[in-house]
Symmetry: C2
Subunit: 126 residues, 2 copies
């Protein structure tokens, strides 16, 4: 697996290493970790980080899709930072584990909820 | 893990599902599969697919980084296609499993080798 291709000290990271990477709040506190990424097959862009939160927040789902634009990699922390709050997580628009990724209305709502520009807006990430 | 968030019939795919996805040549033949992805931590763009080829080609390495730009997802095949040939794989610029991802000279050479524009060129994928 990835052991044959180590990638130290570089801006590139293996998808296998992102899975499990810690996400911090704006302070030094761990808020959760990345379970897996959702990638646009055609463009190769990461669209969502699907996060888990260890269950301590009393959340309704085990995994929460967070728009990639709401995360920022911090090379010093070797982890991601987010300004998303516990309250925002709990108030996220209702979603189905099975089909949120094909529900454009929900995607629009969740991007608004977190205050980030939808990825299908041509100006994002470019 | 990803089982709690299924994503059928959509242009988004889980990183866990990309790992193991078949890569086909320009015909119907399987040439290998994707082992993992190398992602730019800051931009969230997939830069390389690190592929394995099952050993039948007599290759020197177990895994080969292939620029993302040399792959194209085929929704009909549910897999990726590439125009990369066995000869190109065998003639790829010599690399070290340990540090190719931080060797910009090698990265330049491999993009030239496969005839794709380097990802650090501002016009790529935008």
């Amino acid at each position: 697996m990835a052991s044959s291709t180590a990638h130290p000290n570089h801006q590139l990271i293996s998808s296998e290493d992102v899975e499990g990477t810690t996400v911090y709040d704006l302070g030094q506190d761990k808020v959760g970790e990345i379970d897996h990424l959702m990638i646009d097959k055609l463009s190769g862009r990461v669209i969502y980080a699907v996060m888990s939160f260890g269950g301590f927040l009393g959340l309704a789902h085990s995994h929460y899709p967070v728009p990639w634009a709401a995360l920022k990699y911090d090379t010093g922390l070797q982890g991601f930072r987010t300004a998303i709050t516990e309250r925002q997580l709990k108030d996220v628009p209702e979603f189905s584990d099975d089909n949120w990724a094909s529900d454009r209305n929900w995607e629009s709502a969740v991007h608004r909820h977190y205050g980030v520009t939808p990825y299908w807006d041509a100006s994002v990430g470019r």
